[in-house]
Symmetry: C2
Subunit: 339 residues, 2 copies
């Protein structure tokens, strides 16, 4: 194998918005799998907002990437060499690790995927971590019921697009929130949401019009002024699925600690019997992956699940694409096609 | 029956803190029970913070008391006359209604109580709505586990004292928060909490000392600066049982609407997978009353449940006592002994 590995490293911890200089792209030798390990050539890398947390050393639910370490991420690709009987060269697998072309992974962390069921890259989105996130959050917290009003922020994004379509399939009325007319049109026309509101406009007025009876379930991806507009409109027994608050990921270290912008007064939580609950899909979500995948494939077959990817060519473009993701510049699930 | 009824009416809606002039005490004829109804002479009336909400016409989970109407409340007493075969004069019952000496209640809303099991007034506290509130909130939301750290605000109050003792019985480490040295001493010495912090002192420093590893369950009765100190100390998978926020009950109408003081930034809800959930015991709690009562009587027998009442003599004193309750001037479960 004459090819080199290509890796994106964390050069320094960002202050606020990450910049290109926070990353470093290096060529290194292709790693060699040890006992029970598999060498994978990644074809697609998933870029997701949670990675911003890994760049920071503020206390969080997962360890930060070390300075000089490979950026954390999930990829799909092909087995090149295997020291485990379950995998053979040429198998397509999900579970690749890191922003890099080649990686070595324990066999136990890999899953073979059938590319007849869906394109390979879909295993990073609708059939991957973001899709699983959407499904787990609705199963465990949102629990949308027929006729309920569900509001999904970042509706055209990787998680939002799946969450909204699952809620629609369950009979809920689904209102998206997205940035700009193009994304909003996509959310309604392609994803089939009942409406989509542009958070760059007057969100309060748009919510009044779209949700005159209030909101039963709010899928929180963004925080900030969107949360501020949605929270007072929650109905009795409303649920807030706290998936992320991307609007503050670039704020000072530990934006949730001292100096964080305030949140809503919690009085209505008592009076309206609200439930505000956070979750992280990596806690126990993957144990339920087979059930999730079966549900998703069923929805695909019945035409109730479509998806949009924003594919950027080349691993060297990953830092720039990721910086744009945090600003909402992607349109659909952001993946890197690895050259 | 030559005796008159004595009633406390809502004369006007309070602006901020209720004052004596918001109430009116009147003598009226004793009511006559209709078909299926029972006439009760109340012996004890329960005074509880939720009644502040009923004095206001701001939107809430229950209808407000009408101007000129009898203040809402629960009482225990004796059957005087009955038009239902299940009840006979002399029976002791819970389910009396309103701030009044005599009331007429549908038989279906009454429950006979055995005064050999506990004193009559206990059916308004540890065996009544506040006790049921404590039990339901811990069963459904708090779910304290052995070794976990549970913090109870308003720890010497009607709900707090029961919630803390249930959590202790389940093996949790229980830290109370109360106002003043006397209440704090009671919470530790009589109720058996592991510690009790005085919210009039430096609560942050006291919490650091008492909960160095953080807090797993927070029982929210008060809001305000207590919530502000506790929230950042919640551990991963922490639960906030949102029972009440008495600190803002006297604020401008709809203190949870425009003009409400801000609450915590919700970023940590995602990162720490917190669950913040409100509940109202009257939703479905009473359906579980028999199970609750059996649990409480069991804890009493094993010496794991004690309680303190603050008994005020005379229905005419109810307005003054209630005004004091909202300022934390009561010490233990506030009940009126009806003359």
């Amino acid at each position: 194998m004459s090819e080199n590995n290509l890796q994106v490293l964390l050069r320094r911890r960002p202050a606020g918005e990450p910049v290109a200089e926070d990353f470093e792209v290096v060529e290194t030798p292709v790693p060699v799998p040890g006992a029970g390990e598999v060498l994978i050539r990644a074809r697609f890398l998933s870029l997701d907002p949670y990675m911003r947390g890994r760049m920071s050393d503020a206390k969080s639910y997962a360890k930060p990437v070390e300075l000089g370490g490979v950026m954390e991420g999930l990829s799909v690709g092909e087995v090149v060499a295997s020291n485990h009987p379950d995998f053979a060269p040429g198998d397509t697998v999900m579970g690749g690790s890191g922003w890099q072309r080649f990686c070595v992974v324990e066999a136990a962390k890999l899953r073979k995927v059938d590319c007849n069921e869906a394109p390979l890259s879909a295993n990073l989105g609708v059939l991957g971590m973001p899709g699983l996130t959407a499904w787990v959050g609705l199963e465990d917290i949102g629990e949308p019921k027929p006729g309920e009003t569900v509001v999904i922020s970042a509706a055209s994004g990787a998680v939002g697009q799946v969450a909204g379509q699952i809620a629609k399939a369950r009979g809920a009325r689904v209102i998206g929130i997205a940035g700009g007319a193009k994304k909003c049109a996509f959310v309604v026309r392609e994803l089939g949401f009942d409406a989509c509101l542009d958070h760059r406009g007057d969100l309060n007025a748009q919510l009044d019009a779209a949700c005159p009876e209030g909101i039963d379930v709010y899928w929180e991806n963004v925080g900030g002024h969107v949360q501020e507009a949605v929270f007072p409109r929650l109905r009795d027994f409303g649920r807030m699925v706290m998936c992320g608050m991307i609007a503050q990921y670039n704020q000072a270290p530990g934006a949730d600690a001292a100096g964080a912008p305030p949140g809503p007064n919690l009085g209505p939580v008592v009076r309206k019997r609200l439930r505000i609950q956070g979750f992280i899909v990596s806690d126990k979500g993957w144990q339920r992956y087979p059930q999730f995948r079966a549900v998703m494939l069923g929805l695909m077959k019945s035409g109730q699940l479509v998806w949009k990817e924003d594919v950027v060519q080349g691993l060297r473009k990953a830092p720039e694409a990721f910086i744009g993701l945090l600003k909402g510049q992607n349109f659909g699930k952001l993946v890197i096609a690895i050259d």
